[in-house]
Each structure stands twice: as C-alpha cells, then as structure tokens.
Symmetry: D2
Subunit: 339 residues, 4 copies
C-alpha cells in the first residue's frame, strides 16, 4: 500500500524502513531535511512539504503522523488542509487518548477518518517489528490491515499461547484493534504504565544488590543506622551485570527489559554515563489519572512515576520541610556529612 509518514525521527524512520522492506510505498516528510535524506537511501520517497506529501499519495490517502505528542495537534491541523473525504489520518505517537476523541470528531466533520495507534518497540522495532494497539472505526482499521500486519512482529516472534489453536488472531501477529477511537492510545498508556512499574521494580532490585556490601565498611559507634544493623549480613560484592545475565534465561523475571538492562550494565557497570534524572513522557501520568478516575488502586504504577519525579529534584522542598520539622520538635540539626 501507499503510506505517507509525517516525522522522520527514530520511530517514524523505523516505520518507513520496515514498510518499504515489506514492499509498501512510503512517502515521508520531516522539516529536518537530513533525516529525510537518510531515508531516501532506503527506498523511501522523501518530500519537502506536507502539501507535497499529500499530493504524492493516491486517494484515499493514508497519512501516518509520528511526531512528539506535543506537536501532534498542530501537525494534524496542517495536514488537514490538503486532505479530502475518505482519507485516513493515523496518529502513531504517544498522544493522550482524550485528545484522540476530540480529533476524531473534528476530522469526521470533514469526512476524514482518524485512527490512533499506540506503537511499542522503540528503536528495535524496525527489526523486531512493532507492537500495535489500534483504536478507530472497524471498517477503516480493516482497510489498513496490510500495513499493520507488516509492521507487527508476526506470530513467529513468540511461541503460541497454550489454549490457542486454529486461525492465528491479529493479536498473535502483534497488532490489535482495541476498540473505538482512543482505545489504541488507552491501551498503550496502560502498557507504558506497566512498563514504568517493571522498570522501577528492576531498578530497585539492582539498587539493593548494589549496596549488599555495606556491612564491610560499617564502623562501630557510627550514629548512622546503616553502619550498625546486622552488618555481618551485608558483606557481598555482587556483579550486577552477571546477575542480570543469569536472570535472562529460565527465570521468572526474564523479559526484554532485563535483556536490554543486562547489555547496558555490561557496557557500563556503574552506569556512570547517566545522571539519573529520569524523564517521564505522559503515559505514566495518564495511567495514574485513569486509575484514580476509575477508583482502582495502583500503588506500584504510581510509585514508579513518583520515583521519576523525585529523581529530578521535585521532592527537595518536601524534604526541607521534613528537616525543618525535625529541627522544630527535636532540635535535630542536619548532619554536615549529609549535606
């Protein structure tokens, strides 16, 4: 099929290359001319304007918008000027699903279809395939099926789930029509919420392993609690890269995330290339908002989000308040050693 892609960043470029490999025609626009040029070498048709992108496609057109969520709204408004009824706009970015609902309504007024696609797979998607969570009108999603099927990892990417037999379902190929407009990004939002939780679980475990030798340096009489409690039982010097490696095979925590983390720690055991100021990109926050709107407890997913906030210094004022309280009722001075 013919697909226009707006955005030649990591994700957009990955989609384009994978589609071309599978025989589709890809027309790509990005204001970053060099990014577009790099794609031309791989058989992608690069264009210089949105208008040109639309003009190059035969109708009914498919325009896949793959830009940062904060820009999606503006980009769709721009491309809309050149589209006609029965064209399709796909938002493949990490949009808030509520924005999908509004956008879908706005496009529908022009007879243009809107499909939201939560896209997971990161920079590896081009090789492994992308996991696609799709929301929109069934007939339109059906129309796009050949694209989704070729972007998805395919059923061979995992053994078949016990209990499944017969025809292979779309979900087994790695893509799923989740429901009406917004459903794709809702499911992707929760996916990322779970991802935050998995990441935090692993990171916390690694941090506990890393300090398992604290007892070695403990000195009697030190007023620090760490120094005196059960020091004998904290005399291990663990090689975290090797531990992660062993968890990759056969263990209950084996996962792609452990695979990736193993490589990262193998390359940089102290992770000294990182400051530890961890960004969050929206889905984690929206997941918590959904949990609260639904009244569902989500201790783990929320804690994972808050740890990211704190990593960026956002707990500092609260911590100062705690110190001020301790000073107020107990005369406790902050220790110089702590500063």
């Amino acid at each position: 099929m013919q697909v226009g892609i707006v955005g030649a960043g990591r994700m957009g470029a990955g989609l384009a290359r994978r589609l071309v490999r599978h025989g589709h025609t890809c027309v790509v626009y990005d204001p970053d001319v060099q990014a577009v040029d790099r794609l031309r070498a791989d058989g992608v048709i690069g264009v210089g304007t949105l208008e040109e992108l639309v003009a190059t496609l035969e109708g009914p057109r498919i325009v896949w918008v793959m830009v940062p969520a904060s820009l999606t709204g503006a980009v769709i408004e721009n491309v809309l000027r050149f589209l006609v009824a029965d064209d399709v706009v796909i938002d493949g970015g990490n949009s808030f699903y509520r924005d999908d609902v509004a956008r879908g309504r706005a496009l529908a007024e022009h007879g243009i279809h809107y499909v939201d696609v939560g896209t997971s797979g990161g920079v590896y998607g081009i090789e492994r395939g992308f996991s696609l969570m799709i929301g929109g009108d069934p007939a339109i999603v059906e129309r796009l099926d050949p694209i989704f099927r070729d972007l998805a990892p395919g059923v061979a990417a995992a053994t078949r789930t016990p209990g499944r037999s017969g025809t292979v379902a779309r979900a087994e190929h790695g893509y799923l029509h989740c429901g009406a407009i917004g459903a794709g990004h809702f499911v992707k939002m929760i996916h990322n919420g779970v991802e935050y939780g998995q990441m935090a679980a692993l990171a916390e475990g690694m941090a506990i392993l890393r300090k398992a030798g604290i007892g070695i340096s403990a000195r009697t009489g030190d007023t620090s609690i760490e120094a005196v409690a059960d020091a004998d039982f904290y005399s291990y010097d663990f090689d975290i890269a090797e531990i992660l490696e062993v968890w990759r095979r056969g263990s209950v925590v084996s996962s792609w995330l452990v695979d990736l983390t193993t490589a990262a720690v193998h390359a940089d055991p102290e992770l000294s290339g990182f400051s530890g100021h961890v960004a969050d990109s929206g889905e984690g926050r929206w997941t918590v908002q959904a949990a609260i709107d639904e009244g569902v407890p989500a201790h783990v997913l929320t804690a994972a989000l808050y740890e990211r906030f704190a990593s960026r210094g956002e707990a500092d004022y609260a911590n100062k308040a705690l110190s001020a309280m301790r000073m107020a009722f107990g005369g406790h001075m902050e220790k110089a050693a702590e500063a």
Copy 2:
C-alpha cells in the same frame, strides 16, 4: 554425576527428571511414597529413608535438599547424621540467606560443605531449564559445575547480550556463582522481590483496563465519584486476553510473565477460578528488610508486598479505623451500598 535429592515435590521432581535426562544418576527420597514412585518411571532411583539415600551415593556425596523453607533446617539436621567430611549439602529451596550463613558454619564444623542455590523456573524448569543463583566456597561450586550446567537453560535460551564475545560465561548458560555462602539466596531473594514488583505492575495495569468501561454505567446524581468524573472517557470494553497477547510480541513489556498471564486470562477471562487471596513466601519480605537495612528506597517492591497482605484482609482493622475517624469528625456514615 551422582546426586541425592531430598524432596519430590514440584521443584525436586523437576530437578531429578532434568538431571536424569542429562545422564546423571539421581537418588530421591520423600516421605510421600507415591511422589517417589512417579519419579521411578523416569529413571530416578527412589529410596525410602534419608539413611538409604546417603548409603546409595558414593562419596564425596552431593545431597540436594529441595523442601519448603520452613522444613529445610530440620531436614538438614537429619541428613547430617549420615554424612561424612567432604560431602556436600545443597539447599535449593527459598531459604532466608541468613539461615545459610548459620547452617554453613554448623556443617563446616563437621567438614561438610554447604552450597545455597536459589532456583527459579517454576514448573517449567524441567523443559526450559532452571535459573540458578549459587553461593558457597569456589572450589566446591566448581566441583558441582556439571550438575549446574545441565540444570541451567543453556546459552541458546536467549540471544547473546550485545557486547559479549568469546568464551560463554556461566551466567550466559543460566547459572552463576554469586559469592560466599548466602549469596545465592540473597540474589534469589532480590529476584523474587523484583518478580513481585513485575507481577503487581501487570496486575494493576490489567485492573485499570478492566474498569475502562465504567463510564457506560455512570448515572448522573450518583454520589459515587466514579460515576460522575469524565464518564465519557471511560466507555471502552477491552478484551484483556487479546491485549496481553499483543503485548507478547515486540512490546517493551514483553516477558515470560506476560506470556504466562496471557494463557491464564485466555483460559479464564474473569479469573473466576481465583479468590484473590495472594500468599507471599518470604523472599518479598526479606527483600524489604534488606532495602531498609541498606537504607535504599524500594517503594515499588514494598507496595507489591503490601498489596498481597491487603488481599488477605490484613488492612481491615486500619480501614475500620478510617471509617471511625470519618464518623468522628464529619459524621460520615458508611454507605450501606458499600457494605
């Protein structure tokens, strides 16, 4: 090699069968005679007493104890009566690593070696191999290497970690000598702590997906918050089994745990076969204790543990206290509908 195994439960039976398949000689004792009989059919030598187990093995013996953690101490004391210097006792259960240290010292007084092996892989280990986290004296661990190598999944169970080349390390085969006595169970403890966190992250995400249709039933004027806040945005009817299926391939959360959960939800979408009273087996608690002793924050791992406590009704008194407070300052009656 020759290995004696005490315990023919799920894990012990799995170890025995996998060892026999790889050409080792396995002698198994369990007070459950039928469990031992079932193993005989697979080439295992079943015996009726601990004494017989020890007598059947050539020295220096290897006795792998694979029983519930609460029984391990007593079993080791029993088997000790029949062992001699240079024999090896392996504790493959989920023991507290501090107990290893004490046991290792006690056995050392008799010249008997002690090795602790954290064993992950569950009921699938017999086919997939077991992930082994090992603590003990290097020379003794080396002596046991052929056993560990055959129990482990082997390097082929996963693609090689980028950056690794040359000789395949033990960790890449799926087993690791983590350090001195206790190190194996320490690492396994943290492994299970991470496992709790991963499980809770996934379960919370599933719970939010499940209530994403709450807005459909919302009624205006209902005093329940859920019913009125943004009801329009909660009108999805998700098929959780299909969503999990799509997450299995290509997504960042893809993992063995997602694989297993997909099968479980596929078989029983409402999970109606479960009451939701979730047990915890010790490692989660010890992980939190380690985090606290080390002064490392572990919000996610701890929340995962506490959610299990609460699942068993252990928050009930605190909740009653909250209701009593609300009544006291606000005159708030608990709603009948809530009871």
Copy 3:
C-alpha cells in the same frame, strides 16, 4: 450581616447556627423541610424556596451554597435566576477548584460575584469555629469579612505562633484569603489530601499495634510466615484506646485527629460498628491529580487514597491476576485457609 444559606445539612446547619449566635441574620433553604424546621428553633429564618430565600435578603445579597459537590452546579444555576448584579454567591462545599474558575466566569457575565470557601471543622465547627480557606476578588472577600471572622475559631483557639507579633493576621483568626477564584478550594483540597495522609498514618500504626500479639498464637510448622518469624517478639497485648490516650498529651503526634480517634476507640475498641469500606469524597483524588500535573512526588498522600479504594474491593481483580500468575509459573494453589 444578612446571609442566605442553601443547604441545612450538617455543615450548612452548623454555619447558620454559628452565624446566628454571633448576631447575624440567617435565611436558610433546604428541600428537607424538617431540617429547616430544626434550625428555626435556633433563630434561623427558614424559607421554602430559593426564590423566597433571595427575596428575603436585602441587596447586595450574600448566598452561601453548602450542598454536596455533585449538586453545587445545579443549585447555583437555580439561584442565579433570582440574583442581580453585585450579589455574591459563596460556594462553601468541597467543589473541585477548576469548577470554581468556570462558575466564577459564568457569574461574572451577570455582574455577580463568586467566592469559593473551603470549610474545615466538620460537625464540631459550630462550637470550635470553622477553618476557612477563601478564594475570590479581594474587594468582595473584604466585604464578607465580618461573616468569615465570626465563623472562624478566633485567635484564642491556639497559642500564637512564635515569631508573630503585633496585629493579629486573618490567618491567626482562622480564615485566609488564599488568592483568586479557586484558591480557596485548592487549599482545601490539599488540606484534605494531608488529612487523608494523617488518617492513614494513624490507622496503619494502630493496625500494627493490634497484631503485636501474633506471636502468642504462632505454631511451629505452620507454613504461614507470620507464624514463624520472630514469634517471641510479638507477644504484646496492647490496649489501643489507652495508647491513643497517652499520645494525646505531650507527644509529637498529638492532634485533633488523635483526640477524635481516641474517643472512637474508647467507645468501641474493636471498631466492630464499622465495616471498613471507606469512602473518598474527591479532594484526595484531586490532590493526586495536582501532584501529577505539577510533577511533585506524593507517595504518602496517594497511598492513603489507594488504601481507601482497596478497602472497597477495588483491588480484587488485580489480586486474582496475581493468584493466576502464581498458579501459572509455580503451580501454587490458593490455600483454602486463605479463602
């Protein structure tokens, strides 16, 4: 001054009675005729319709709406039909501060002023005075000052804060103009968020005290962890009512909440009059939303909210998912004893 009050529930009745005691004229409307009748005995002017309420007041009128947050919008729309320019509407309920902003704009189109007042004090406010957090136009808040001053507890309700001298500030009387429209409810929202946290902290502490005798009933060989870990150290039989009583005087946790909880536990030590299904009224949720929008970690306030969700069974599906996972990888059956 003359004040019209819509709503004769616990809070509205308390405001009316306290205002009358301080010499103000209070006109009250509530569809519950008996509630209005009860107030007449205390010198309040009861009326049968909103129209009558407005007609009874001299202009510029002050109409204080004190109804459940879910009804506030409709009530204000109704009363608006009878008001004229320069009248004032006060929303004293637990509205979401964002609704204030919208309401303020809508009323401003009619030249009517809007003031939002977060009101704390519960059923005790009539005697102790109400803590008032106020948002709105400075000139209008100034106009209402005599009402706020008499509703507030007054400076004598606490010793003066060290460092304060000279003229007594409004905040020291117990009421505060916090900022523009919405500011009052924003501050009240955070107040209630903190309240949730304080309540949960106390309730959790009580729950730990209550099980401090768990070791007495521990039986060796029981597979329950609680039964075997350090049983000797959990042999206390605490009298929680007496403990709370001792915390009321001189301790760092002494607070009104401890005072109230002491009385509740003294009256019903097992809290058997409560089911422990704890409602939440909105502010806790909005507090978390604000924390997330601002990127500020709020582990404690959020955990307190989620514990309420869980108290109402909202964690059940997630818990079933955990049990399903444990069965899947480990063959763990839920224990009958747990059911």
Copy 4:
C-alpha cells in the same frame, strides 16, 4: 524521689530539670562536663563518673539512661558494675524493643530491674511534659509512678476524652504502662512511625501548594509535561506560612506538628536554611519491620521512610538504571536541562 540520670543532652537535661522543678532529687552524669555544669545551675547534682552517680543515690536506686540508642548497651554494661539487686535501670532512649528483652534478661540475672520508657515531647518536653510509654514489671513500674507522673504533661494538657469519667487514668495524665519489658519501646516505635507518616503527609501537601503557580511560567512548545498540562489551573501564588497558620485552628489537620511547622515556615518561608537531607533514627525502620513480620500493610508509613532514604541520594543508582533502560529501548538521551 531520687533519680540518677546518665546523659545530659537535650532529652536528659529536660528530664532532669522537670524532675527538679517537681521536687525530686536528680543526680546527673555525662562525659560532657559543660553539659553537666549547665544543669547544676538548675538545682541538679552533677557528678563526674558513673560510679559517683551510683554512690550518690540511696538504694534501691533508680538510674535513668538517656543516651543515643547506639550507646545505650555500653552505658548499661558500665553502670551495671556499680549496681546491686533491686536497683532499677530505666532506658529512656529510642532503643529497639528487642534489645530491651535481651537487656532485661541480662539484668534480671543480677536481680536488677529493667524498665523501658519511650519518651516523646522533644525539646518542648520540659515545659509541656513528656509523653511516656512504659514497659516492665508492674510492681517496678508502680514503684516509679511518682517520677512518671511528674514528667508527664498531666491531664490538664488536653480536654478529657468524651466517654471517660471518674478517676483519671494514667494514660490521661500522659503516661502508660503498656506491658512487659519492650512494650514501651514498641509503642514508641509505632508512635514514631506514625510521626513519620504525619510529617510526610504535611510535607507533600506543602510541596504541592508551592508549585501551584507552575502554570504561570509555562511556555507552549516546551517538551516538559509540566509546562503544557492544564497550565491555566496552576496560576496560584500561595503563602504557605499563612496557609499553615489557618490550618492551626479548627481544621481537621490541626496538630502540634502543624503548629511547629507553621513557626518554621514563618521564620524561613523558603526553608533555605535546610539542605533536605533527612535523617532517620531507627524507629521508622523498625516499624516497617514489625509491619512485615505481622503481615500488615503499611504503605504510608513505609513511603514516608523511603522518602527520607531518597532525600539522602539513596535512589541515585536506581535512577541511573532507569535512564540506562530508557536509552536502551528508546534511544532516549537524558536532557541536558535535567542535569
């Protein structure tokens, strides 16, 4: 009565002065000669050695040890050399209750009585009285009653709890015999756990208030989430000192902690005198350990503890791990602006 006090720090000095004021005879030893000298001016008998302290007291002696928990064991061992049967040692510090049990047994072998007293009240105790949580043999606690009664705040420090009448209980005076040896420190441990939770709840609330103006500086197009989400609703500029002041009177969160925090923020609104590295002194950790041993969920108390750990940089490695994961699967670079 005659009381020997070992330790002339903030707490020991406070106890001594309050006892002298109530007509008791106080003999104080501290290696810090100047600290002892300062007490002499207030009528305390200062001595230069433990031996002298014991020699100065008439038997049966009462020796109150009031030193940092890490020194208590050594001090008691020292003083023990000079004591005889029927003397009493009181540990008034923040000892782990399990240490009490061991110490009580050791002293009992010499016929010496041991009483543990959890002491709350901080630097204000000398004026307000101390809240005392006591563990030990009933007869011995009875013997010490005159001391406890005069140290405690007294019944007038709070209004009587509704439902209480007749003879004023000890708890109403502000001291309580909680149970056998260790019970006093157990209750104090939980008290401090609750204190941690209350502190964190308030600090988090303050932090959310402080960033309520974040929307004012939001710029469109900024990739930071904070900058774009609902900026209009975060345009408040709150005066936190005034807000705390208004919460002191009549509100549900009114408490001694709010009183103290109000003074601190009034004196230093930005809390610029504090670095925000918050120490923890043991009870918070032990509270969590008790929660876990008992299987009681304590989300709030634990989160409060972990926030202190994180305030001291203990989450840094976990955060780096998160950044490494994000780089690995998504190619996400940490933003320079974040560093």
